[in-house]
């Protein structure tokens, strides 16, 4: 896909204040990496207090590692080497042990990202119901690809896996709040609102907070904002559908296609000889064949990004 000039593929440059990712890029081969700089003293004191509270929830301190990684992410907006070293120090682990964990889980950002994480579900059901089209439209609309951040540092776009809201498909998650029943138009409007600073109201859940504040909730510090708990109400419309039927509040809708009837074998939309040029569902086009297996057109692909 095209990369408009105003977009920085490397989000590191888009966000100031966090330099370790950029430093990593510049390390020459053979030069051992310098230790990460510690947090400033004031920040450190505050984080140590939070860390002690987190560690206190568990019988064994190492269990606190995932929440601690959420905590350092809430400080910097991503998990930096400084953050990982902090976790290692608190738990008596090596930096390698912490890095191994931080790189395993997809919610930990390994470089700075946007204030809003916009995740479009492209697992099969959402993809088929329109998630693929929405993801494609948002990439074009924002001029960025998967995992990239807009130049203003507002939005990081990503395709995500199933988020347990299939009855509301297609689903978009913004900072891990539900935006249900999306269309291409509603999705464009959503990111426009986020970029313009107008905010957006989730379908189920509380008014959006920034990525860092969200990470703090994930670290186990309850959201104290007035009205956050109540926002979104009780069950969502799809969650209530069976209950309402059982209570006789809504009758069954017209049954248009009786599944009982034996179905003729599916007739493709296009005859085979008029098939469209191709629309691989994959997020990444198939890669070239391996030279070592010329008889077979499939071949190894490069590692996924990150």
């Amino acid at each position: 896909m095209s990369q408009p000039e105003n977009i920085l593929a490397d989000a590191a440059a888009a966000t100031s204040g966090s330099t370790s990712a950029a430093v990593t890029e510049r390390v020459a081969l053979g030069m051992p990496e310098l230790p990460a700089p510690p947090f400033p003293a004031e920040t450190l004191t505050r984080l140590e207090r939070d860390a002690a509270e987190i560690i206190g929830r568990y019988p064994h301190s190492r269990s606190a590692l995932l929440p601690l990684l959420h905590l350092v992410q809430s400080e910097e907006g991503f998990v930096s080497r400084t953050g990982m070293q902090f976790c290692a120090d608190r738990l008596g682990l090596t930096l390698a042990e912490v890095t191994a964990v931080a790189t395993f889980y997809s919610m930990y950002r390994r470089r700075p990202g946007g204030e809003y994480h916009v995740g479009v579900c492209t697992n099969t059901l959402c993809a088929v119901m329109g998630g693929d089209a929405i993801f494609e439209a948002l990439q074009q609309h924002l001029g960025i690809g998967n995992g990239e951040t807009t130049a203003d540092g507002k939005v990081t776009l990503e395709h995500i896996e199933c988020n347990a809201a299939c009855d509301y498909a297609p689903v978009i998650m913004v900072n891990w709040e539900f935006f249900d029943d999306q269309t291409i138009e509603s999705a464009r409007q959503l990111v426009d609102d986020l970029i313009a600073g107008r905010g957006a109201t989730p379908t189920r859940g509380a008014p959006l907070c920034g990525f860092k504040a969200t990470s703090r909730i994930l670290a186990g510090f309850p959201d104290r904002r007035e009205g956050a708990l109540e926002a979104g109400g009780s069950g969502g419309h799809a969650s209530l559908i069976g209950l309402r039927l059982a209570k006789g509040e809504t009758g069954p809708e017209r049954i248009t296609a009786r599944p009982a009837e034996p179905a003729p074998r599916d007739v493709p939309v296009y005859p085979p000889d008029q098939a469209p040029a191709g629309h691989p569902s994959s997020h990444d086009a198939p890669q070239p064949s391996a030279g070592s297996d010329p008889d077979h057109p499939a071949g190894p692909v490069s590692e996924e990004r990150e």
Partner: protein, 463 residues
Amino acid sequence: MTMTPTSPAGSTGSAGSTASPDKLLAPVLSATWDQPESWSLRTYRDHGGYAGLRTALAMAPDDVIAYVKESGLRGRGGAGFPTGMKWQFIPQGDSKPHYLVVNADESEPGTCKDIPLLYANPHALIEGIVIACHAIRSGHAFIYLRGEVVPVLRRLHAAVAEAYEAGYLGKDALGPGKDLQLTVHAGAGAYICGEETALLDSLEGRRGQPRLRPPFPAVAGLYACPTVVNNVESIASVPAVLARGKEWFRSMGSEKSPGFTLYSLSGHVARPGQYEGPLGITLRELLDLSGGIRPGHRLKFWTPGGSSTPLLTDEHLDVPLDYEGMMGAGSMLGTKALQIFDETTCVVRAVTRWTEFYAHESCGKCTPCREGTYWLVQLMRDIEAGKGLMADLDKLADIADNINGKSFCALGDGAASPIFSSLKYFRDEYEQHITGRGCPFDPAKSTVWADRPAGKSTAEVNA
């Protein structure tokens, strides 16, 4: 909890031989989801919440285990293992601490029952946790919630705080000198952590990779101590069993699959959503009462319980949606995530995407899964793009066979399921992609807005 199944409010006038929804459905866990502040302790107690706990605490722990066992409650997380039996495996009289870990990592594609349950009714889970901890003599329980659902985390934080304040948790919660702690733990994005031993490793602050069994978690689980790992819906169902009785529970469903459960209908249906009813309802009944396939279309294929359960077709509409019924049809009940796809959906596209998911989520610990899912993706992508060969179909089946039953955990089996089942029912569609050098389907036709009049907004449609 004594939440009564919502009483029928008259016939809904459904036509013909179809039983009316109030006869087929039985909301228990979902009965209060429409109430104001349904997530609060107050609403929960107003509807009889925490009555099951009183009953349980008046019983000896072993009696609670026996009672749950006799109720026939089976795990709702996919495998269907009897819940009471899982509790019974915990050694008693040992000197080690015991732990209860609730698996709230709901990530199986298509599965969407625990998240709405926890969002609207978190106290059902907390009450179940207290009962279970009493039964297995545990003083510390954990809820491992997937991280990507902040609204649910918010309500769990609040509900747990309420339960502490009310004395259901904390000091002497299980009787004099018997404290109970409950920790809510947010994951960080890894499907594999839904596998119980990977979940335990993750909860210990490690990469979420499955452990070799035996030893089973009941003997050496969290911190190498006896641990019960149960799904959210399983534990949340326990209070109703205690409050209303095992006979009531067994009056629903079948001998081997008793009780009520949440069915999640999604995809190309007129009304996707949660439908709670007795086990053993059929997909035809569910579709009939819910309005069927979306207007103008017909069923092509579906999964009974998430993408890891072999897909089925319209031949299987009348098979009871219970553990035995689905097993007999060559599939699994799984999580009762009924993903419905109509005739506009390309099965190759669907399976490709699922396969990409498994490859992405494979933890990398064992070779058959790590390598196998990788190669399945290469073949599926080529076939979908019209660059496949006929021989690839056998190769697909061969690779899937080398993963299935030969990997460390069930993720590998799950990856093989859609391959096997789609080749079984839709081999000709794979062949069409190969001979036609491309996909014959138009993806625009399967979108949710494909049949909508132009300009109609989502809000109107969902009103």
